[in-house]
């Protein structure tokens, strides 16, 4: 199903959304300028944000104790989004961000209470002369929190993709478990990837990992796929979808995952 069709009947939120219990259905927000989301103690919700207009969005999320929130960000226009999430103890945030073309996503997560966890999966696909940026900053401000930020980028044509990751661990944030990973695929000689995976650690009992790679298409895999009957374009596209696809599949709702994958495939045809 097309994304637009899928979200047509969903509840829309504009400036303010307060969740007190468990919201079963996902809600959607279309290119919001300012949006504040408050998930009360023990509450659970799913928010989809579609940036389909060239606009600046500012989001503030607050997860109270034990709250959980899933956020899916999708950029289909040249939008600038800055998001800041504050998480209290035992809360859980799961986020995906998919940039299909020029866009800028700046995501900051503050783990303020003990035993909070966050997982951010970010993807950008750029072609032509596009320029995408993804920043994920996780601030571990309390002990026993876990975070995972995984970003994958694919750049073709003369495009530029940029990832900036930061895991900050404050002095009191003992027993932090943080993982930061960025992998990229360059499709052409003139495309460019910039990556800055960073750690800043002031506590002494922590487990933190970070890494970044930039690679090219696996020609052996393309050959293998062609030997089974796919043409070169198909083989390349399948490989790219395989490279970023599993991150997109983290978005909780199957129909939504499929719709986003379909948009990604359409995007790849233009790259």
């Amino acid at each position: 199903m097309e994304l637009r069709e899928l979200i047509r009947d969903w509840k829309q939120v504009k400036e303010q959304w307060t969740v007190s219990g468990c919201e079963e259905q996902p809600v959607v927000s279309l290119s919001p300028e300012h949006l504040t989301v408050e998930v009360a103690e023990g509450g659970a919700a799913h928010l989809v944000i579609l940036c389909h207009e060239p606009r600046t969005s500012e989001l503030k999320l607050h997860l109270a104790e034990g709250a959980s929130l899933t956020v899916n960000l999708l950029f289909t226009a040249e939008a600038f989004l800055s998001l800041e999430a504050d998480q209290e103890a035992h809360s859980s945030l799961k986020m995906t961000s998919v940039e299909l073309g020029s866009a800028n996503a700046r995501l900051t997560i503050n783990l303020r209470g003990r035993d909070a966890e966050s997982e951010v999966n970010g993807v950008f696909l750029t072609g032509g002369e596009e320029h995408a940026e993804l920043m994920i900053r996780t601030n571990h401000l309390a002990a026993d929190c876990r975070s995972r930020s995984i970003a994958r980028g694919v750049a073709g044509g003369k495009s530029v993709g940029r990832f900036e990751g930061m895991v900050y661990v404050a002095q009191d944030a003992q027993r932090t478990d943080a993982e930061q990973q960025n992998r990229n695929l360059l499709l052409s000689q003139k495309a460019r990837i910039e990556t800055m995976p960073q750690l800043e650690i002031y506590a002494d009992d922590v487990k933190c990992s970070h890494g970044a790679t930039v690679g090219q298409m696996d020609q052996e895999a393309v050959y293998y796929m062609r030997q089974r009957g796919m043409d070169e374009q198909q083989a390349r596209r399948l490989q790219i979808v395989g490279f970023v696809g599993d991150l997109v599949m983290h978005c909780n709702e199957d129909a939504l995952c499929d719709a986003v994958l379909k948009l990604m495939e359409q995007k790849l045809e233009t790259m």
Binding site: Y224, R226, Q227, G229, Q234
Partner: protein
């Protein structure tokens, strides 16, 4: 089905195949043996259309068509299957998805309708049995995290799915334990009919206990220097290649 005439091929300017002649007819099984570096895998790659190699001379006819003018995927769609010596891992692409696209591409080429999801699942379940492939593997990424044995079983599973006219199996037996070898070889035998043909490239006679060849060819320095029947493989196992190579030098 396949006619190879005076085939020469090189990589980075170095000639690896120096005049191969080979004819494979429907219903036949051919084994290609030979010492390391004799050009066995190169022959398989050149027939599959691997762009790393340059054909400098010769002709290859497959099902009445000029094979050398066809792209890798056209050859595959015409019914040429290569079982890889080192099957490639494709992260993030599930076996099921990969096979579905491959099967439907080949059907499209033959002017057939694509399989529905239900038909495809049924086919996949049926064919997984040929090589006792764990059905769970089909939901995993192509070859990713597969054991050596599973990778080779997976090659034969793909062969079963695609039902090729000509299957070239490049050292499908290497790296297999006795049980996996039996399963893989029995699978290949099950798939053999009077309408298709198989070329197995191997170092070891033991594979040929299961897949009984009509012809055994010895490849040496890019040429087929000797052709015999299945008894040749036994003799090679016992005596090695020296007697042939010495004959050839003289």
């Amino acid at each position: 089905m396949l006619k190879v005439k005076d085939l020469h091929a090189s990589v980075d300017g170095k000639e690896i195949l120096c005049g191969i002649n080979l004819e494979v007819k429907a219903g036949e099984v051919h084994a290609i043996m030979g010492p390391n570096g004799s050009g066995k895998s190169t022959l398989a790659s050149v027939l599959a259309g691997n762009e790393k190699f340059t054909v400098t001379q010769g002709e290859v006819e497959f099902e009445g068509r000029n094979l050398l003018e066809s792209s890798i995927e056209e050859r595959a769609r015409m019914g040429l299957f290569l079982g890889f010596q080192y099957p490639v891992e494709i992260p993030g692409v599930t076996m099921a998805n990969f096979m579905k696209i491959a099967v439907n591409e080949q059907r499209k080429f033959r002017g057939e309708e694509p399989l529905t999801a239900a038909e495809f699942l049924k086919l996949m379940r049926e064919k997984a049995k040929v090589v006792e492939l764990d059905a769970k593997l089909t939901s995993r990424a192509v070859n990713e995290g597969f054991s050596g044995g599973e990778k080779k079983k997976n090659e034969i599973f793909q062969m079963a799915m695609l039902d090729p006219k000509l299957a070239i199996l490049d050292e499908t037996d290497s790296g297999l334990d006795i049980d996996a070898l039996r399963i893989v070889a029995t699978g290949v035998t099950k798939l053999h009919t009077e309408e298709n043909a198989t070329v197995v490239i191997t170092h070891y006679q033991r594979l040929l206990d299961y897949i009984v060849p009509d012809y055994v060819h010895v490849l040496y320095k890019g040429r087929i220097i000797y052709t015999g029947d299945k008894s040749l493989a036994l003799k090679l196992e016992k005596e090695g290649y020296d007697w042939l190579i010495n004959d050839y030098k003289e």
